[in-house]
């Protein structure tokens, strides 16, 4: 039988899925052991047990000076920035996507402009954002927004344009105005596509968030990682990295669940 026709049975599939994770963990443990055996004070590859202890300490013990548990404050601040940036980008994506996808005038005016904007590297704009918006929240949220909005607009516009012409004509024969076509025919059909696009955008959004926090901030997951880098606190960095990964996974999972619940009719097409 050809390999392209062979499918793993369920237990084997689970095993195969776990394999790369286990391999990575083992490789890390071996490397860490070797280094710690040579030098017990080594900070580069802390033992998994050390990381667990650090994680527990970070999550439960307050800051010596203020008593705040920085880990949770960092998380809340980063999530707030992420939610604002991604939320505003989603709003802009759906609004301009609908306009460009439905209205020939808007397409003529904005199509080329958005395509050009999407070629500007967002990180190159970061200094400008700091100059214009200052070092506060606005510049970080703007970086996320600028970083993912052009993609969202273009994706939503092409999804809107993909709606079969027959449906738009049908709606008009039922008396629908442009607004009603947008609100009742196009919008609900691209909402699940928006969620899909947001899932794809979360990766870049985290990238821009951490970049902005690394450069100018006093709270946030990215800020903390770059702060403790000075003390070579690998155990803290690794805890934060794993935590960010978990958060990203949970967000992706939540968006997928939301899409399934809210748009059951779209399931077969996604």
């Amino acid at each position: 039988m050809r390999w392209i026709n062979r499918k793993p049975a369920r237990p084997l599939a689970v095993l195969l899925a776990a394999l790369p994770f286990v391999a990575l963990l083992l490789a890390y443990m071996v490397a860490s052991d070797l280094r710690l055996a040579a030098n017990p004070a080594d900070k580069l590859l802390p033992a998994p047990s050390t990381i667990m202890e650090t994680a527990q300490r970070l999550m439960t013990e307050g800051d010596r000076r203020t008593g705040r548990i920085l880990f949770w404050h960092d998380t809340a601040k980063s999530l707030e920035r992420l939610a604002l940036g991604v939320g505003l980008a989603g709003l802009a994506g759906i609004t301009f996507g609908l306009l460009i996808g439905l209205l020939p005038h808007a397409r003529a005016m904005l199509g080329g402009f958005v395509a050009a904007l999407s070629l500007v590297p967002p990180l190159a704009l970061l200094p400008i954002l700091f100059i214009v918006f200052g070092l506060g929240e606005a510049s970080k949220i703007m970086l996320i927004f600028i970083g993912i909005t052009p993609f969202l607009i273009r994706d939503m516009a092409s999804r809107t344009a993909e709606i079969p012409r027959e449906q738009l004509v049908k709606a008009q024969t039922l008396g629908a105005s442009s607004l009603v076509v947008a609100l009742r025919v196009a919008l609900p059909q691209i909402m699940p596509r928006l969620i899909q696009a947001l899932r794809l955008s979360l990766g870049p959004a985290w990238l821009f968030l951490i970049a902005a926090e690394a450069i100018a901030s006093d709270l946030g997951l990215g800020y903390r990682i770059f702060l403790v880098r000075r003390y070579l606190a690998m155990d803290v960095i690794l805890t934060y990295v794993i935590w960010i990964t978990v958060l990203a996974y949970l967000m992706d999972w939540a968006l997928r669940a939301l899409s399934r619940r809210a748009y059951p009719w779209a399931e077969t097409n996604l």
């Binding site: 027959e166 004509v169 024969t173 039922l174 008396g175 105005s177 609100l183 009742r184 025919v185 779209a266």
Partner: protein, 255 residues
């Protein structure tokens, strides 16, 4: 005056003639079947009737009003596919046919209940009441087309345009759809244009069968000329093989 008057209609796409010198008069209540070779411009003719596209020359006058420039509830349509809204339940597809004409496309709460009841009555009529809460994707092809027809009729159009509505259905389903359509027409008088690639179906359902074809043919350039109406059959007395060419044919009428 005839309900629909097509006057010296031309349609070209990017300089390529598709339809030329089309003339037609249709009385209120007539069922016109449209047949012709694939790609000869039948759907284009329907799009012109629908005012989804505008003629390159000539005009289509309905009810002696100025020619329409965009689709309106006066002319309902059912396509071969994609005619219903996939994101609405079967019932909501029918409610939408009433709600879409409002400013925001939604009925106020008080009217919604009544619209739902009317929708249920229609679903009862078209045999889809048991699927009221399902999404269209769960319907068979024949059910989807019944829903599409029911939806188009809910808006009470004067003219119903059908573009190969049963083209994707299996033969058995198609027969039952013929009966369904004949019954509906007996209940609600309306003028129907139906494109079909099935001659038997065209003669069975239509009062008239019109044929689109090219009258001129350039062997070195097959796209040099467009199609026009070459035959206009009276199909009321049984169709094949009893059809007669209508006395006053519309072919090549000089203008």
């Amino acid at each position: 005056m005839s309900l629909v008057q097509v006057r010296n209609l031309f349609k070209t796409y990017e300089g390529r003639p598709i339809l030329e010198r089309v003339n037609l008069d249709v009385e209120e209540g007539e069922f016109i079947s449209i047949v012709g070779a694939s790609g000869c411009g039948k759907s284009t003719f329907l799009r012109l009737l629908l005012a989804e596209e505008l003629p390159s020359r000539g005009e289509i006058i309905v009810d002696d009003a100025p020619p329409a420039v965009e689709p309106s509830p006066q002319r309902g349509v059912v396509f071969q596919r994609y005619s219903v809204f996939p994101h609405m339940s079967v019932r909501d597809n029918l409610v939408a046919a009433e709600a879409f004409a409002t400013p925001f496309g939604r009925l106020p709460r008080a009217k919604r209940a009544a619209a739902r009841e009317r929708a249920m009555a229609t679903l009862e009529r078209i045999g889809l009441a048991h699927m009221a809460d399902a999404f269209p994707a769960a319907l068979s092809g024949g059910m989807q087309q019944r829903l599409a027809i029911g939806q188009a009729l809910t808006a009470k159009p004067r003219i119903l345009l059908l573009d190969e509505p049963f083209g994707a259905l299996d033969p058995g389903t198609r027969i039952s759809m013929h009966e369904f359509l004949s019954e509906l027409r007996a209940e609600t008088p309306m003028t129907v244009f139906m494109v079909s690639h099935d001659l038997e179906e065209a003669f069975k359902l239509g009062d008239r069968v019109i044929v689109f074809d090219k009258t001129r043919w350039d062997p070195t350039d097959p796209t040099a000329f467009g199609a026009t109406i070459t035959y206009d059959f009276d199909a009321r007395d049984g169709g094949i093989p009893f059809q007669r060419i209508k006395e006053e044919t519309h072919v090549l009428r000089p203008h």
